[in-house]
């Protein structure tokens, strides 16, 4: 089986190297075949691994020892258990769909082969991340996906906005990664290992250990570790206040938005916390913080989706909001629910992005929803699949999103953490908001007055080619049904087994299991819950405002101009960051540069040392006279000196 495990990540790596290094010789057709084929191989291998795991086989071993330093082993290894097997399947499936989609979407782009190389390499990195059995490999994968995200956001590197966006993503992720690596460093320092199994096994012995970051304020070690690791997750999974990079990342090509910024990379944080469940379970404080951050993100980011007019940005804010839901579920110790939502979300959000991309192609790269409308007549497949995605997103009974999102709400409701009573209403409000912005988008794009005629100069929009619609259909199927099919085994069955650990003190999921009577019953029960009606109200309001009384939104925004201004300004995070961090850091750095760098370091230390070395170098050079007898003399004198020195030492 290890061979199959190896194939999963390394097939895309080979594809990436082939297209990256030899793309110039292979041409476009061969390049996309190689890249797509390699990911297809990876998907098949993932499927085999998944079946193997279902049969009860897990695997945890180091494949290659990179080095030993001071008793710590740095290794490359795989941990194949239900959690990673599920992630592998999701990653390789969505990646394959995106590869196929890219053939159509990027058809006219000059960087075609480069793009394929990047996304295959991304797939490799992401798979290495989820398959890791130790913190070091996790970190490497983490940084590699970050790097590729950076490269892909700035894929169109001649656009200033894209450069700004990828720099922003890079910097914000640096903040998160800094916390993350501090967390890993503390794990190494206290537990003496980077291996998951060893660390998890030792962790319970450290519950009473405290660290004093400031003298006189002892904090629980595990809380500090978990919070630091969670800072990493906040960066990667775009939780407030480190979310600011994700909306801007929409500058990248749409397939990237689907693959990296919706389905896979941004969920790495969620995955990581779920993987670390044995650590997080030991710290209620950390869990409460996780839940609070998740709840705030879920509601506040959803609200921003209402005022956006860029089709991709609406979906991006929706992603932020959904990531908030997942995080909240993690806080409620419902790790399996978070992963469940991660999976369903990967499908329907990738679907929404790809469908949005399909619309964008049809309208010649126009992304403003105010210039769309009535597209359902021209793009039937895109329309239907987008509708399926939206229905899944808002949690319509029987759709996949319904099961996962309802489970999250229940889990938070059942959580025994104090903060849950505040988070639960936020999440409920979020349901209404989600429904409202989703259907606002849907109605504005596909129904109502056709506002695109100026763009197309009288032509009619065309349905996209098959390479675009096939992935849409392939993603629509799981968006519809995967929740219904898998909720039983994933949440209430024994699927995850030992890969996720929930302490007895956090019984939320166990409580839910007692009330669960099957997927059909859960859906039929929906109409008697307030959540269902909140969603329905959101849809109805969107219908009323954007199809019936199209004059109202304008008036409302004028009446509530202060609220509108706050939302359009995205709560002022960007301005604050620019003003405080960016400008402040520049001022500070400028001061340090002039005083510290130029004067002390450059002038005294660096140049001084360099001058000293240079002088020594010129001096020593003179000993190299070129005369044989000088050299012979030097040898003799050297031998003489050594003899004198060592015979004296020896006695």
């Amino acid at each position: 089986m290890p061979i199959t495990y190896l194939i999963v990540p390394f097939a895309p790596l080979i594809g990436a190297l082939a297209t990256g290094l030899f793309g110039w010789a292979m041409g476009r057709r061969l390049s996309h075949w190689v890249a797509t084929g390699s990911v297809a191989v990876s998907l098949v291998a993932s499927w085999l691994v998944f079946q193997d795991v279902l049969a009860g086989h897990t695997y945890n071993a180091n494949l290659y020892t990179w080095m030993h330093v001071g008793g710590v082993e740095f290794a490359v290894g795989f941990l194949i258990d239900p959690l990673s097997a599920l992630m592998m399947l999701v990653v390789s499936f969505v990646s394959l769909m995106v590869h196929i989609y890219t053939i159509g979407y990027m058809a006219d782009d000059a960087g075609y082969k480069r793009f394929f190389s990047y996304i295959s390499l991304f797939t490799f990195s992401m798979l290495m991340l989820v398959m890791s059995n130790n913190f070091l490999q996790l970190f490497f994968g983490w940084e590699a996906v970050g790097l590729l995200s950076y490269l892909l956001i700035g894929f169109w590197y001649t656009r200033p906005t894209a450069i700004y966006a990828n720099l922003k993503a890079f910097l914000v992720n640096r903040v998160g990664d800094f916390g993350f690596i501090l967390g890993i460093a503390m794990v190494l320092a206290y537990f003496g290992s980077l291996d998951y199994a060893t660390v998890f096994q030792r962790a319970p012995m450290y519950t009473q250990v405290t660290v004093s970051l400031f003298p006189g304020h002892p904090w629980s070690l595990l809380t500090v570790v978990c919070l630091l690791l969670f800072v990493g997750a906040m960066g990667k999974s775009a939780q407030m206040p480190l979310h600011v990079w994700l909306p801007d990342s929409m500058e990248g090509p749409t397939p990237i938005s689907a693959l990296i910024h919706a389905a896979t990379m941004v969920t790495a944080g969620i995955f990581m916390v779920a993987r670390m469940s044995p650590l997080f379970e030991l710290s209620d404080t950390a869990l409460a913080a996780v839940m609070a951050v998740g709840g705030l993100t879920a509601l506040l980011m959803g609200l921003l989706g209402i005022v956006q007019n860029d089709i991709k940005r609406v979906v991006a804010y929706s992603t932020l909001s959904q990531l908030g839901y997942m995080t909240a579920a993690l806080g409620a110790s419902a790790y399996s629910v978070a992963i469940f939502h991660l999976m369903t979300h990967a499908f329907f959000k990738a679907l929404l992005f790809l469908a949005a991309g399909s619309v964008i192609i049809a309208l010649h790269h126009e992304q403003d929803i105010r210039k769309m409308g009535g597209l359902y007549k021209y793009m039937p497949i895109t329309w239907i699949t987008f509708l399926i995605g939206s229905l899944a997103l808002i949690g319509t009974p029987f759709f996949s999103g319904f099961y996962s999102k309802d489970s999250i709400l229940e889990a938070v409701h059942a959580s025994n953490l104090g903060v849950a009573q505040w988070v639960y209403p936020m999440l409920e409000a979020g349901v209404f908001v989600t429904a409202f912005y989703s259907f606002r988008l849907y109605f504005l794009v596909f129904h109502g007055r056709e506002r695109f005629h100026d763009l197309l100069h009288g032509q009619m929009p065309q349905e996209s080619p098959w390479v675009v619609t096939i992935p849409l259909l392939a993603l629509a199927a799981p968006s519809l049904a995967i929740g219904y099919m898998t909720i039983g085994p994933l949440l209430y069955g024994s699927y995850f087994g030992n890969s996720i650990y929930v302490a007895d003190t956090h019984p939320a999921l166990a409580d839910m299991a007692q009330h669960f009577q099957g997927a059909v019953a859960m859906a039929l029960h929906a109409p008697v819950t307030p959540v269902f009606w909140l969603a329905a109200a959101g849809v109805a309001l969107a219908w009323w405002l954007y199809l019936v009384r199209t004059d109202l939104p304008e008036k409302i925004s004028r009446r509530l101009s202060w609220l509108y201004a706050v939302l359009v300004a995205k709560y002022g995070f960007d301005e604050f960051n620019d003003w405080f961090f960016a400008r402040g850091a520049r001022l500070l750095a400028g001061g340090l540069w002039r005083r510290g760098d130029v004067t002390v370091i450059d002038n005294w230390l660096v140049n001084g040392a360099a001058r000293a070395v240079g002088a020594a170098s010129r001096l020593l050079r003179h000993f190299q006279t070129g005369y044989i007898y000088h050299y012979a003399l030097a040898m003799l004198v050297g031998a003489f000196a050594l003899v004198t020195l060592f015979t004296r030492l020896a006695g």
């Binding site: 080095m67 070395v613 170098s617 000993f623 050299y631 012979a632 040898m635 050297g638 020195l645 060592f646």
Partner: protein, 485 residues
């Protein structure tokens, strides 16, 4: 009198690679006289075939338990097998890189191949020596061939001068070595390494004459490694010799010299390690300091690399002075890594040179990126590796050696080594700066055969690959030491 059993074929079996090499060298020598210059490639191909044959004959020894042969004069163990295999590859790469350069300078003659093979034979004799006499004879065979190779370009005054210096100073060093050996013999009463070791372990010998002999032994070996204060020949010979010979000189013999040092100090004189450890510390620190600092002032790349060699050899000795299996393994790893780097660096000079143009000044590398991004990238890898920047193999080699030293409690040596490496990084990175940020002075096409480009690419990428995945080679080195000692 002594009645020894006569030699049987089985006694010669461990020597098969050496015998094959010698036979082929003779055949090439004879055949070459009958070849017209246009058919000289036959000698070249035969030489490569010889190396391939030796590889095939040596491979079975890799897993064999250590065994002596020829009345205990010869030892075959995994260390010897690993070193020999690496040497074959190094010599093959050297000949490939050197081909065009030699042709352009009318040095492409049978003697070059034959002398190179004789030098290789000398190294193999050294590596498998289990007796002071064989160590010395192997060393002389190698040195003699190298002297002749350096002088082969007779019309060049610089080459003749370099050969003269190398020869005279080498003779002095040989004298010191022999003197040291005779002292050790005088005290221990044996020339066999194994006996020497056991005798030293058992008996309490007066330390003074031993230390006295040891100093001269170490001095002689230090000359071959090119370690301060026995390093003066290195820059002059590296610069003066034809670059193809410099490449040969700067790669394979360094590994052979390390094994020589290990055979003498570990196989023979390990009980005296407290004494030689101190000597190596002095030599290593001096080499790293003087090598790295003086390299900065150089404008000739060959000369710069010569000083860099001095520094690297000092660094490598750190692994030996750790005086344990891990340290020796690290030193072996370092030597192999250095070999690969050295091949890449000189190979690049050879590839860029052409008739009448040596391409060995630093200025010649200006703007290489604009002329050939791929070659510039390979050179970048080489320079990074020499400077010890991750993820190249140079970094890992330095790390392994430093770890071995720190484990022995010599933290201050490790700190000093890192400081000198930092100084060293300057001149390596200067080459990178010239390649990427300066405008090219040369604009001519880079003419090089596809096979040379391919070998150089593999060579350069090996630096990266071994840096990312060092474990197989490291394990091989550790295995060679553990299975041999």
């Amino acid at each position: 009198m002594i009645s020894l059993p006569p030699l049987a074929y089985a006694d010669l079996q461990p020597l098969l690679p050496e015998l094959f090499l010698l036979a082929m060298a003779g055949i090439i020598l004879l055949l070459d006289t009958a070849l017209s210059p246009a058919n000289r490639y036959v000698s070249y191909l035969l030489t490569l075939a010889t190396l391939a044959g030796c590889t095939w004959l040596t491979l079975p020894h890799l897993g064999a338990a250590p065994a002596t042969a020829l009345y205990g004069m010869f030892i075959e163990d995994p260390l010897a097998a690993v070193s020999k295999l690496v040497l074959y590859i190094a010599v093959a790469a050297t000949l490939t890189y050197a081909r065009d350069y030699l042709k352009e300078r009318n040095l492409y003659r049978g003697e070059f191949f034959v002398l190179a093979l004789f030098a290789l034979l000398g190294m193999m004799v050294m590596i498998s020596a289990y007796h002071f006499l064989m160590l010395y004879l192997g060393l002389e065979l190698m040195s003699l061939s190298l002297y002749a190779l350096v002088a082969l370009q007779r019309d060049s005054a610089a080459a003749s001068e370099a050969a003269m210096k190398y020869f005279v100073l080498g003779a002095i060093a040989s004298g010191m070595l022999l003197y040291g050996m005779s002292m050790i013999y005088g005290v221990t009463g044996t020339l066999y390494l194994g006996q020497m070791r056991s005798v030293l372990q058992m008996g309490a010998f007066p330390s003074l004459p031993l230390v006295f002999g040891l100093v001269f032994l170490v001095a002689g070996m230090a000359f071959k490694l090119g370690v301060v204060p026995f390093h003066m020949w290195v820059p002059d010979v590296y610069e003066g010799a034809p670059t193809a010979v410099t490449l040969f000189l700067g790669s394979a013999p360094k590994l052979a010299a390390l094994v020589f040092v290990l055979r003498v100090l570990v196989w023979g004189l390990e009980p005296l390690f407290i004494d030689w450890q101190q000597m190596l510390i002095v030599l290593a620190i001096l080499s790293m300091a003087i090598g790295n600092i003086t390299a900065i002032a150089q404008t000739n790349l060959k000369r710069m690399l010569a000083y860099s060699t001095i520094a690297h050899m000092g660094f490598m000795l750190l692994g030996v002075l750790a005086a344990d299996r891990v340290g020796y393994g690290a030193a072996l790893f370092y030597a192999i890594a250095y070999l690969i780097m050295s091949l890449a660096a000189f190979g690049m000079i050879l590839l860029l040179s052409r008739a009448g143009f040596e391409s060995d000044r630093l200025e010649d590398f200006k703007g290489l990126n604009a002329r050939s991004p791929w070659l510039a990238f390979l050179m970048l890898l080489t320079m990074f590796s020499m400077a010890g920047i991750p993820p190249t193999v140079g970094f890992y080699a330095k790390l392994a050696v430093l770890e071995a030293v720190v484990n022995q409690g010599y933290v201050w040596i490790a700190v000093a080594a890192v400081m000198f490496s930092l100084i060293g990084a300057f001149y390596y990175l200067r080459v990178v700066k010239l390649m990427y940020f300066d405008a090219p002075e040369q604009s001519s096409e880079i003419s090089a055969g596809a096979d040379v480009r391919l070998v150089l690419s593999v060579n350069g990428l090996a630096l990266l690959l071994l840096g990312i995945l060092p474990a197989p080679l490291m394990n091989l080195c550790l295995y060679a030491l553990k299975a041999s000692l």
